[in-house]
């Protein structure tokens, strides 16, 4: 009797889990399937049947006429430059806050911590006016700097807490050998910080790649926009409003690389993201 109850409850649990899992997968299968159809076909079968012959030109239209190709490359540039800068700047700062001594050190660190705690729901308002004032509105530089700032607090915190737990012996040995602080950071500390760097890279890469509202506020020039804002603009353009299957091709272009990277590195990504969210 106990055994029977146990099996019945397991079946119930898995039915529940599987049905929720299906709602997470089905829309994307439908999206990819629809992206390979003609608009005509899509109207006839709701995008539910397999395409009669795969319409690869949907992708070509989305990337070229829809300008999503340019937006895609922009996103890669912003993400790469942003993450690289965040890693360098915040590991330097995390090292400074953890190991070096100067006046006001802890005060400055708490400043970064406070920034993580206080929610600023409309931070884009003053940023917009200030960037406009210094001529950085609608520029790549303005956007990248703003995104570096978004990632700094959390990344510095992660590096600092990591360095706090590192034994000091290695640095001391290097210092006795006459290494400067900068060389100790580069040759000893930074290579040891790989686990922290992994979390920082994953968290910030996803954050910048998926960022929407700052890019929407900062860019007015379509050819400078990253992919998310590009998709948003594309969805209300004449192609996006009429050719549903081309819109689906555009969405697939944006989603598929992320899904592929995610599936390949899911363990690290889930760990990195939750580490970030728990701290924030």
């Amino acid at each position: 009797m106990y055994r029977f109850k146990k099996i019945a409850s397991l079946i119930l649990i898995h039915t529940f889990l599987i049905s929720v899992a299906l709602t997470c997968i089905a829309p994307f299968v439908w999206m990819i399937n629809s992206s390979l159809k003609t608009n005509q076909e899509f109207f006839e079968d709701y995008g539910l049947k397999a395409p009669q012959s795969p319409q690869w030109q949907n992708y070509k239209v989305a990337l070229t006429k829809g300008k999503l190709g340019t937006n895609f490359i922009n996103s890669i540039v912003y993400t790469f430059v942003g993450v690289f800068s965040i890693v360098i700047i915040s590991s330097l700062a995390g090292y400074g806050f953890s190991r070096l001594h100067f006046k006001g050190r802890d005060g400055f660190f708490y400043l970064f911590l406070a920034a993580m705690m206080i929610p600023v729901p409309a931070a884009f308002v003053p940023l917009y006016v200030l960037l406009k004032g210094v001529g950085l509105l609608n520029t790549r530089t303005g956007y990248i700097l703003a995104m570096i700032n978004v990632g700094l607090s959390l990344s510095i915190y992660l590096y600092k807490t990591f360095f706090d737990q590192l034994p000091k012996d290695l640095e001391d040995a290097a210092r006795i050998d006459g290494c400067s602080r900068l060389r100790i950071w580069w040759h000893v500390i930074f290579p040891l910080a790989k686990p922290a760097t992994g979390v920082v890279v994953i968290f910030n890469a996803l954050n910048i790649w998926n960022e929407f509202v700052l890019a929407l506020v900062i860019f007015s020039n379509r050819s400078l926009m990253p992919l998310q804002v590009g998709l948003y603009e594309f969805s209300s353009s004449s192609i996006g409003l009429t050719s549903y299957t081309v819109l689906m091709a555009g969405l697939t272009v944006a989603a598929l690389p992320i899904i592929a990277i995610y599936l390949a590195m899911q363990k690290h990504i889930i760990k990195g993201i939750t580490a970030g969210a728990m701290v924030g």
Binding site: L17, W30, I89, L100, P121, P126, L231, A254
Partner: protein, 291 residues
């Protein structure tokens, strides 16, 4: 302090200088500048006129603003109840079925990995009529009575947005609650069972009390995440039909280009509401922990 230690100080300080410089210009200055802006009217740095507290006075009587705040909290209410209960049930279920748990974790987390814009535009196409695949699906499984114009009918649009948001974000709560569940030692459940506690008693007397700090954290994250929501509603409904889904932050975004001062004041009001909620949640969490 002698000169040598001053240069040493400066050398050490230079490690944090790049971070501080960016942080000063992009966080600290804007933070205080908001308060300055909120006291002014105008569009840019050079065309501002001082109006004192007029913006705040106007906010008090701005019905459209308070409706948008109300919509944000309506969605938060959905997220707090429906989304978090779903997350909790899923976490409990996966905790039971540990061996296959990781597959579900990977699948559930797919949604937060993808951007709000992708999710919003995809669900928009699924819910829009002609051809509406979701309505078609309802008809096929015999639920024709539930066919609606989900996004264009102002009676349903906001709830559609709320449910989409809950579905898109449940994995956050799920993963945090699951991590919390797995820190509860199995012996506690064993001990409770030996003492004759049934499953419901084990849940309410062992699981829930030990999960309270985690639950409070999930609640704070849910409110902060939902009230600041913008990408998803922009992609899904763009605030329509007839402002039925215009949330507080979208309202601020709409005012930004022409009424930066007023937008700042709205941002401050919303920020204060959020800070008040977070603080009272932390207080409640502490009190519950003591009991």
């Amino acid at each position: 302090m002698n000169a040598r230690s001053l240069t040493e100080d400066l050398k050490s300080f230079s490690f944090v200088l790049p971070a501080l410089a960016i942080f000063a210009f992009f966080y600290i200055v804007p933070f205080f500048y908001t308060f300055w802006l909120a006291l002014h009217q105008g569009t840019g740095v050079s065309q501002l006129t001082f109006v004192g507290l007029d913006n705040f006075k106007n906010i008090i009587g701005d019905g459209a603003w308070w409706s948008s705040v109300g919509r944000s909290f309506y969605i938060s209410l959905w997220a707090l109840t429906f989304q978090n209960l779903l997350a909790l049930f899923l976490a409990l279920a996966v905790d039971r079925a540990v061996r296959t748990g990781n597959i579900y974790r990977v699948i559930f987390f797919l949604l937060p990995i993808l951007s709000e814009v992708i999710i919003g535009l995809l669900i928009r196409r699924i819910l829009l009529p002609s051809p509406g695949v979701f309505n078609h699906f309802l008809e096929q499984i015999g639920l024709s009575a539930f066919v609606r114009d989900w996004l264009n009918d102002s009676r349903y649009a906001l709830t559609t947005l709320a449910v989409t948001h809950c579905w898109r974000g449940f994995a956050w709560g799920f993963i945090i609650l699951l991590a919390g569940l797995q820190t509860i030692p199995q012996q506690l459940y064993e001990a409770a069972r030996i003492d004759g506690a049934n499953a419901w008693q084990r849940f309410t007397k062992v699981t829930v009390p030990l999960l309270i700090p985690v639950i409070c954290m999930v609640i704070i994250l849910t409110i902060l995440g939902t009230v600041q929501l913008i990408g998803l509603p922009m992609a899904l409904t763009r605030g329509g039909p007839a402002n039925a889904t215009t949330l507080a932050v979208m309202k601020i975004l709409n005012e930004l280009r022409n009424y930066a001062g007023y937008a700042s004041a709205q941002g401050i009001v919303l920020g204060l509401i959020l800070v008040a909620i977070s603080f009272s949640m932390m207080k409640i969490s502490k009190r519950l922990n003591k009991v």
